[in-house]
Amino acid sequence: MHRRARLRWILPSLLVSLASTSWTPARAAVEFERDVLPILEQHCFSCHGGSPKVKGSLRLTSRDGWVKGGDGGEIVDELNPRKSRVLTAMRYDDEMLRMPPAGKLDDATYATLKSWIDAGMPWAGKEDYGVEPEDPAKAKPVDPMKGWSYRPVTRPEPPQPSDARLAPWIRNPIDAFVLARLEAKGVKPAPEADRKTFIRRATFDLTGLPPTPSDVDAFVRDEAPDAVEKLIDRLLASPHYGERWARHWLDVVRYADTNGFERDNDKPFMWRYRDYVIRALNEDKPYDRFVREQLAGDELDDVTSDARTATGFLRLMQWDDEPPQGHEQARYDVLDDIAKTTSEAFLGMSIGCARCHDHKVDPISQKDYYRFVALFDGLTDFRTDGCLADVSPPEMKAEFDRLEAEKREEIRRIEADLAPFTRDLARALELRPAISGSDDPTMWRYTFQEPKGDWSAVAYDDSFMKLGRPGFGAEGTPGTLVNTDWREAEIWLRRKFVFGGDPKQFGLAIHFDDDAEIYINGVLAAQTKGYIVEYQELKVTAEGRAALRAGENVIAVHCRQDFGGQYIDVIPLPDRKAGLAELQRFKDLKRKLEIARERPIPRHYAPAAQETGRAPRATHVLVRGNAAVKGDQVEPGIPKVVDFVPLELQSPPKDADTSYRRRSLADWIVDARNPLTYRVAANRLWQGHFGRGIVRSSSDFGELGERPTHPELLDWLAAEFVARGGSLKAMHKLIMTSATYRMGVVGDPKGAEVDPVNDLLWRFEPRRLAAEEIRDTMLAVNGRLNPRVGGPYFFAPMPEEVLATSSRPEEAWGESSEEEVGRRSLYIKVKRSLLHPMLTVFDFADVDASCPVRFRTTQPTQALTMLNSPEVNDQALRAANHLEKQFGADDDAIIRHLWFTAFSRAPSDIEFGEARDLLKQQRETFGKDRSGALQRLCLFVFNTNEFVYVD
C-alpha cells in the first residue's frame, strides 16, 4: 500500500548517498544539529544505535535507520508523517509501546521532533552517529555440521572395523558405528556386564522397578542363547513398561493435573491423557499414529476414543484464568506454549525464540513463528471444563446414550407433574380459590411505598395499588417462584380469599426473606423473623384465627428486605390439611427433579482439542510479541528452513467443525522424508536407555543445540525406526540387544583419560534412579506397591511444613486411602504450585515448560530426605514389618532377602557380618526392639549408593 510513498523516498535516499553527508530540504523548520540531534543523543541513541547491542533492530543514529524502521516495521509513515508510529510511541498513547521508556518527553521536545519528522527528517553532520552493531554470527568459526539436522536422513552403511579381531564384539549395526569411533580414538569398549547387572539395568530401564529375586535367579540360570531377547520381550510386555516410558514423554509435554497461576485449579480428567500415553506405549502404537493422535486425533479419518483423548496434549499448558494483559495476549501465550512444545517435542526445534523478533543466528524468522502458530489458531480458547469432550469408548457409548435418554424422560415427567405448582402455587394449594369480583383470585395488590392509613383493614381502598402475581422478590433467591419483581426495601401486599367453615381448618403457607407481618382482616395473624429457603407452613395466632369470617376475607402482608436475597409469598389455605399435603407433594417433586438432574451419566470426559469451525480467524505477526500491535497477516505454514518437505494444507470436509490445519501439520511431521521427526524420536529413545541422547540437547537440534556424538548412528537409527513401522518396542529391543548397551560400567582406563564424559560410548554409565523410581523401589521392597495401572491421581502424604508454604494450606492438598498411597509415583497428583518434595528433591521435571532432560543433582537435602524424612522412615518401617512377617526371627533370611530385593544380589560375607552387627548394635547399644532394629537396617539399605544407582 505504500508503493507510491516508497517511490517518493527513493529520490531522497539517492540524494543522501550521493551527498553522503547531508540532505536538507528547502523548508527546514528546525535545525537538525542544533535542535534535534541533542534530543536523539539524550533519549534514543543509547538503545538504538549508540551501543553494539541494538534494541528491536532499530537504529536511529542515521537517517536511513529512521526510514528503514526496525523489527516492528516502519516507524515513520512517509505518506502521512503525523500518523507515524514513532509519534504515537512518544505521546505514550499506546500502553504497550511507549518511547523513550524512561519517561514521556516534555511537550517542547515532542514538538521539535514532530516538526522535524513533518519536515521529512532533514539530516546533517555525520551520516551515522552510531557504532557498529554486533554481529553474533561473526565470532563463530565455520562449522561443518552446520545445518546437519535439516539434511535428509540417509541410511548409512554400518562401517567395518579396521581391526578384524574386534568384529566379534559387534552384535548389531549400532555397535559397528560405536566401534568405528572408538577405534579412531584407540579406546576399547568395556567388557560385557554380568547377568545380574544386566537384568537389573534392563528391568529398571523398561519398567522403573527392580527385578524380583526370582526374576534374577531365573535369568542367571537361563542358558538359552536367546535369554537376553526373552528377557527384553518379557519386560516389554509388562504393563509397567508403559508407565515408565510414559513418564519420559510426560516430561517432554509438561504434564500436570492443574493449570498453575494464582488459583492453580484442576484440569479435570487430565489423567486420561496420561493413561492414553501409557496405553499407547503398552500397545506399541506406531510412532506416526502416536504423533497424529496427539496433534489431530479429532481430525483423523478414524476418530477413536483414544485419538480424542490424545488431543489432551493441546490442553496441557499453564493457563491463567485472570490474565493480567487481557485475554487476547493470554490466548497468544497459550498458543505460544503449544507451538513451542510441539516444535520442541516432535521436531527438536526451538521455535519460541522468534516470538518477538528475528534473531540473526536463528534460521527461524518471526514470520515463520506466526505461520506455525496459525496452525493452532483454530483452537477454542482454553476453559477449565469447557474443553472437555466425551471420549467414552464406543461400546460404552450406547449404554450411556440409553441412560441419558432415560434421564431426560424422567426429568420431563417430573417437570410435567410440577407444572401446576410452578405455574400458580396459590391456586394449587388453595384448591378452591374462587372469590367474587373480576380479579384473578390469586393476584395481589401491592406497593413499595408505605400506604397511608389503616392499610390492612378490610374496608381499606387499595385500588391505587398495583396488581401483581405472586411471589414477589428478586430472581435467584433460593426456593422461590418469582413472578413480580421486588427489589425495593419494603413491600405491602393485600388480597382477598374465600373461607368457608371452621377456623381450625385454616392454615398459611409462606416463603419469606426477610421479616414479615401477616394480617387477616386487619388483625395481626402471624409474624416472621429472618429468612427461609423454601415454602413452609406458618402458625396463625389465636387472634388471627378469631378474625376469620365465613366468606370473603382480606389478607395483608408487609415484608422488609435486609440484604442478599429477597422474597415474599403468602398462601392462605382454606383447607389446611389438604393444602399442606399438596405443598409437601410440590417439595417432593422438586427434590426428585434435583436428584434426577444431578444423576451422573458415567461418561468418560477428557480435555480435548476443539476448534471454532472450518475457517479459523486470521493470524497476524505480533510486533514484539504484543497482541495489541498486529503486523502482517500470515498464512499457516512451517518454517522456511524445513520446508523442503512441503506442508500440504488439507481442506476440511464440508461437515467438519475443524480447520484440518493440525492434521496437515501432523501429516507433515510424520512424513518419512521429514529430516527432524525420526532423528528426534530415535534420539529420545537413545537418551532413555543411555541417560543421554546422541544429541545431548534432545529438544534442540538447531544451530545452537549440541552436535550429535554419532551422527551416522543417529541417522541409521532414524531410518531403522521408519523401516520398522515406527515400533518403539522393536527399537528398544534393537538397542538393548546391542553390545553397546550390554557393556559394563568399568572399562578401558584410556577412555577415562581421552573421553571423560563418555562421548564415545566406551562404557555404560551408571544411572541414578529418577525421583519416582526411588520411591517406587522402596514400595517394591516393602511389599506395599499397588501395581494398578492408570486412573485418577492420588495424594501422597505431604509434609505439613510444605503445606504451610501454600496460601491456603487447608485446601491445598488431599488425602488418599492406604491402598492408593501404595501406587506408583507416576500417579501422584502433579499440582503445579505444590509438587511433592520427595519428587522435587530428586530432580523431578519442572512441569511448567517442556523438560527434555532431567537434571541429576547431588545435594545434601537429598541425604536429609533419605535419612530423616518421615516418608522414607515409614517406608523403611514397612519394609521391616514385611520382612519380619515373611521370615520371622530368621535374621539371615531377612538380610539375604533384603539384599536380593534391593540390590538384586546376595550379600557378601562381609556385608552379612556388618548387617548382623548393625542389628545387634541397634538392639544392644541403641535400645531398639527387633522391628526398630530392622527398620534401621532397611533405612541403611535405602541410603546406600547401590540402592539409588543402577549399573
Partner: protein, 477 residues
C-alpha cells in the same frame, strides 16, 4: 565476563549432560587424607567470582506481599489530600478492571521530612524514615500485571508466568554460596501462610533444584527433614553414616570412573554438618537483649517480622546469599492487600515491619555489614489513588507506577528517583520497568544483568529478558 569465573553455560552443559560426572574425575580423592571434604568441583553452589566489581555480597529481600500503597508510605503527594472524596478522571487498572474515573482517597497518614536529604516519609514508617539517608527510593517502577499471582512471578522472576528462575536463584547461580552448611537461597514466610502460588515464587524454574529457595521456619526445625528421625540419637546417626561410608566405599572401589558416587557420599557428610550447624544459625537466644530490642522482639506486634529480620542477618553472616522475607501471607487483610479498610490494613503491616526493618539496617550498619548487604523493599505492585468501592478507603492494585527502595551495598543513600503524576496514579518522570529494578539489584552484586545468562530452550535466558535492561544508575553508589 571475567575469564577467571566459570562459564555458566558450560556448567549448564555439564550438569545437563552428565550431571557433574565430568566435573570431578578425582572421584575417590574427594575425601582428602584428613577426612576433610572437597566439594568445590561438584558443588554448583560453590562461591564464584562476580562478573564485575560489586559491593554487595548478599541480599535481604523484604517482600511486602499484597502491594503497599505508594502514596501512603514513601511517595508524598500533597495535592492528593485536597482531592479526598472528589471524583476525578483517572485511568486505573486493578483486579476490578480498567476504570476511567474514581473517587480519590486522600493519603491516610501525614508525611514528615527526614534526614539530611529531607525525604518525605509518612507516619507509617517513622523508624525507616529516620534512615532515609541510607536509602535509595525509586517511585516510578511499572510492570504489566495488576493481579497478585502474575505480578508476584514478575517481581520474583521477571516473567508473568512461572517456570523461570527467581532472583534468588540467579544470585546464587551467579555468585554461588559461601556456606555449604546452609542453603544459598532462603525464604521466610509470614505466620499466616505463604503467598499466592506458594513455592512457585521461589522456584529455580529451568535451573537445577540446587538454586531453588529453601523455606525455613523460624521456630522448631528450621529446614525440612533437618531433624533426626524419631528415636535416633546423634551417635546413632554417626554410626549409621560410618556404616554407609564403608558400604559405599566398597561400591565405589569397583567404579573408579564415577565421581558422582563420591559426590553423593560427600553429600551425606554435608547433610550431617547441616544438621549440626544450621540450628545454631537459627538460635536467636545468642543475641543480646539490646539487639533483640532493636529488632522489636520485645513487642508482640513486631515480634514475628523482627525475628525474621534478625535471622536474616544471622544467615547472611554465615554466608547465605539471598534471604527473602515475606511481610504478609495468605489472603485479604493478612497481607498488604488493602481493598477494604486501608487504615486498618497498612497500620497493621507497617506497624509490624517499621521497627524491625530499621533495626536490621542499624544492626548491619554498626556491625559493618551494611556495605556488603543489599536490602530490597518492595511489593509486587502499588495501589491506586482512588477508592475501589463506593464507600471506604480501600484501594485496588496498580501496576502503572509504584515505589520500591534499596539500601546497603552498592546503593547511593538519600536519593529518590522518578515520580508518579501528582496523584500517584502512574509513573511519569523517569519511568523504569521492573526489569531495570532487577538490573539494579544484580549490578550492586557485581553481576552484569545483560550478561548473566543461562542456556535454556534455545536461548541465552536472562533475568532481565533477552532484550536486556540497564540498571537505574542514580540509585547506585
Amino acid at each position: 565476563m571475567s575469564t577467571e569465573s566459570p562459564n555458566p553455560s558450560r556448567r549448564t552443559f555439564l550438569m545437563q549432560a552428565s550431571a557433574f560426572a565430568a566435573s570431578s574425575l578425582l572421584g575417590g580423592r574427594a575425601f582428602a587424607e584428613n577426612g576433610a571434604i572437597d566439594l568445590s568441583m561438584s558443588n554448583p553452589l560453590a562461591p564464584k567470582a562476580a562478573q564485575l566489581i560489586g559491593k554487595a555480597k548478599a541480599v535481604i529481600f523484604l517482600f511486602m506481599y499484597g502491594g503497599p500503597s505508594q502514596v501512603d508510605t514513601f511517595e508524598y503527594k500533597p495535592k492528593l489530600y485536597q482531592l479526598d472524596g472528589k471524583t476525578i478522571d483517572v485511568k486505573t487498572r486493578g483486579r476490578g478492571g480498567a476504570k476511567n474515573k474514581g473517587r480519590v482517597v486522600g493519603p491516610q497518614w501525614k508525611f514528615k521530612q527526614y534526614g539530611q536529604c529531607g525525604k518525605y516519609v509518612s507516619d507509617l514508617f517513622p523508624e525507616v524514615g529516620s534512615l532515609v539517608d541510607d536509602i535509595a527510593f525509586v517511585h516510578s517502577l511499572y510492570c504489566e500485571s495488576p493481579i497478585h499471582g502474575s505480578a508476584m512471578f514478575q517481581m520474583n522472576s521477571g516473567a508473568l508466568f512461572s517456570g523461570k528462575p527467581c532472583l534468588g536463584s540467579w544470585v546464587n547461580y551467579g555468585l554461588g554460596s559461601s556456606n555449604s552448611n546452609l542453603p544459598g537461597f532462603v525464604v521466610m514466610l509470614d505466620k499466616t501462610g505463604g503467598p499466592i502460588s506458594g513455592a512457585k515464587n521461589w522456584s529455580s524454574g529451568y535451573m537445577p533444584a540446587t538454586y531453588q529457595g529453601t523455606v525455613v521456619r523460624p521456630t522448631g526445625v528450621p529446614i525440612l527433614d533437618l531433624d533426626l528421625p524419631e528415636g535416633m540419637s546423634r551417635p546413632e546417626l554417626r554410626n549409621l553414616l560410618d556404616r554407609l561410608w564403608k558400604q559405599n566405599q566398597r561400591h565405589l572401589a569397583d567404579r573408579p570412573f564415577d565421581s558422582e558416587l563420591a559426590s553423593r557420599v560427600a553429600s551425606y557428610e554435608l547433610a550431617y554438618r547441616m544438621m549440626e550447624h544450621a540450628p545454631e544459625a537459627f538460635d536467636i537466644s545468642q543475641e543480646t537483649e539490646e539487639t533483640q530490642e532493636l529488632y522489636g522482639l520485645n513487642h508482640e506486634k513486631t515480634f514475628d517480622f523482627g525475628r525474621n529480620c534478625l535471622l536474616a542477618r544471622r544467615l547472611i553472616e554465615r554466608g547465605v546469599r539471598f534471604v527473602q522475607i515475606y511481610s504478609g501471607g495468605n489472603h485479604n487483610d493478612n497481607n498488604w492487600d488493602a481493598h477494604g479498610d486501608l487504615k486498618f490494613n497498612h497500620d497493621k503491616h507497617a506497624g509490624a515491619t517499621d521497627r524491625p526493618i530499621a533495626g536490621l539496617i542499624r544492626d548491619l550498619k554498626r556491625r559493618g555489614m551494611l556495605d556488603e548487604t543489599l536490602i530490597v523493599w518492595t511489593g509486587e505492585f502499588g495501589r491506586q489513588p482512588t477508592a475501589e468501592y463506593e464507600k471506604g478507603t480501600g484501594r485496588d492494585h496498580s501496576s502503572f507506577g509504584f515505589t520500591a527502595w534499596l539500601a546497603g551495598g552498592g546503593v547511593k543513600g538519600g536519593v529518590s528517583v522518578g515520580a508518579t503524576d501528582e496523584i500517584g496514579s502512574a509513573a511519569v518522570v523517569d519511568r523504569f520497568h521492573l526489569k531495570s529494578f532487577h538490573a539494579t539489584i544484580l549490578s550492586t552484586l557485581g553481576l552484569d544483568p545483560n550478561h548473566l545468562s543461562y542456556r535454556y530452550s534455545g536461548l541465552d535466558q536472562k533475568l532481565v529478558g533477552v532484550e536486556g535492561a540497564d540498571p537505574i544508575r542514580r540509585m547506585l553508589a
